[in-house]
């Protein structure tokens, strides 16, 4: 009898724990403010500890990250040197195009994406989970950030805010499998939806017209069509492959994000509660265009940012 009681008790404990877990999962999925609020408070309370520990252990983690990523850093270095040379030449052309674009927008009285106010935020952590591509930024609701806001970095789209606490926010990267963005290709009236394929993979594009042809290297910007959470005209990436499918008149198009999501130090959160505020940014954005915000109000940040390695 004693033996059977002892073997039954662990099972009872397990059943209690499973029921408790399922209850919490159900409460979280069904929504309500309790669990997000508890999570937000826990993050805010723990943020100083994380920050202090991160600063203290930075040399060690940098060392290990360097060891594990030596080959990829070498390749990145070579690639970036080549890119710098290319970008220096392109910068001159872009300055001219940007001015032309702005002049045309002024003539048409259309708001430019760069006119949307933004909050600069340091990236303080990479993905918290191995199964979701997110970053944590050091700005939250106290800085005016709300769930759903668009996040950009210097040259293009990063993702959108999915969770906010007082002093931190979580941003879902556009490479996450659950992330989709409506896009429009530069120089063409072709629109589509780009969906994340995971870290290190290009975005898969579903074209509105499957038989449309989009050349490799074409730039893609957010379309800002009705219902899209993103303002129009933010550079997303360039077409990295466009392969005609055998037997059907359709192309499989992939685009590489214009922002290196793996190395983000600072991002800008577009402080716009309505997507329509950013609509009409003008479609005249060329491949690798410069429609990212740069003229809005900058917020001074006090946190020390770390270049966060994100499997983006």
């Amino acid at each position: 009898m004693a033996v059977s009681r002892r073997s039954a008790r662990p099972r009872f404990t397990l059943v209690v724990l499973i029921v408790a877990s399922l209850t919490l999962i159900t409460l979280d999925i069904r929504g309500g403010g309790t669990i997000p609020s508890v999570r937000g408070r826990a993050r805010d309370v723990f943020a100083p500890v994380q920050s202090a520990a991160s600063s203290a252990t930075h040399p060690v983690t940098d060392f290990f990250n360097g060891v594990f990523q030596y080959q990829s850093l070498k390749a990145d270095n070579a690639r970036l040197r080549a890119q710098i040379a290319q970008l220096e030449a392109q910068q001159i052309q872009d300055q001219y195009l940007e001015q032309t674009n702005k002049d045309l927008n002024d003539l048409l009285k259309l708001p430019f994406v760069g006119d949307i106010p933004f909050v600069a935020a340091p990236v303080i952590a990479g993905p918290e989970s191995n199964f979701q591509l997110t970053i944590v930024i050091g700005r939250g609701s106290s800085s005016g950030i709300l769930t759903g806001m668009t996040v950009v970095a210097g040259s293009g789209l990063v993702g959108r805010v999915i969770e906010v606490s007082d002093n931190q926010s979580t941003v879902l990267l556009l490479t996450d499998a659950s992330s989709s963005v409506g896009i429009q290709f530069a120089g063409a009236q072709v629109v589509g939806v780009a969906t994340g394929q995971g870290a290190g993979h290009p975005l898969a594009v579903t074209l509105a017209e499957p038989n449309a042809t989009v050349p490799v290297g074409t730039g893609a910007v957010t379309s800002g069509l009705e219902g899209s959470p993103y303002p129009r005209g933010i550079p997303v990436g360039t077409v990295s492959s466009s392969i005609a499918q055998v037997g059907v008149q359709a192309h499989v198009v992939s685009i590489s994000p214009i922002v290196d999501l793996g190395r983000l130090s600072y991002v800008d959160v577009l402080v716009s509660t309505s997507q329509t505020e950013g609509n009409g940014a003008g479609g005249a954005v060329s491949s690798g265009g410069v429609a990212g915000p740069g003229a809005g109000e900058a917020t001074t940040t006090t946190s020390v940012p770390t270049t966060t390695t994100v499997p983006g």
């Binding site: 724990l17 209850t23 919490l24 930075h58 990250n65 191995n130 199964f131 499997p311």
Partner: protein, 177 residues
């Protein structure tokens, strides 16, 4: 409270490993994968202290971890307590004197935990979890937990030191002796 109480010691160990996991390991990644010491701790606790104690430790540790991710709250706790309980039961069936059992069961348990998490996450509507990249996650998390099994075993033995007689399946002279 008695300072030798396994509950008090367990709380201290969970807090220390949680701090290590959230404050230090969050920026240490291997091929972009973050180690999951909280799951490893739960499994080791089950192997040393028995399935019941291990399931409780895994539940608490993983629930703390769930506070800092944006996936369904309680999913990691569900996976953690189930895997820890199964691992502890296997260990109890094998007997306490198998030196190889702790690292092997920690590795297998961690792999099963990650696969179970991805499967349940998919059932709950999360997208893109069951892909080839899952294999990389499984390998990295399991490998790190196997390496961490030795120090975690030392900590778990300290927790259950005064409770070894009551433990259902203690591996009191196994892996780390």
């Amino acid at each position: 409270m008695n300072p030798e109480s396994p509950w008090l010691r367990g709380a201290v160990v969970v807090a220390v490993i949680f701090l290590l996991h959230e404050a230090v390991l969050r920026s240490l990644r291997i091929d972009g994968i973050r180690p999951d010491l909280l799951l490893g701790l739960g499994i080791v606790a089950a192997l040393v202290g028995g399935p019941e104690a291990g399931a409780v430790v895994a539940f608490v540790a993983c629930l703390l971890g769930d506070l800092f991710v944006n996936t369904p709250f309680g999913l990691s706790a569900l996976v953690g307590c189930t895997v820890a309980y199964v691992a502890g039961s296997v260990q109890a069936a094998l007997g306490p004197n198998q030196r190889w059992s702790i690292p092997v069961l920690v590795g297998l348990g961690s792999a099963a935990g990650e696969a179970m998490w991805a499967s349940l996450g998919t059932v709950l509507g999360l997208q893109g979890l069951l892909r080839p990249h899952l294999l990389v996650i499984v390998v990295v998390v399991s490998s790190v937990n196997v390496v961490a099994a030795l120090p975690l075993t030392v900590l778990a033995r300290w927790v259950f030191a005064g409770d070894a007689d009551q433990a259902t399946g203690p591996a009191t002279r196994g892996f780390a002796s």
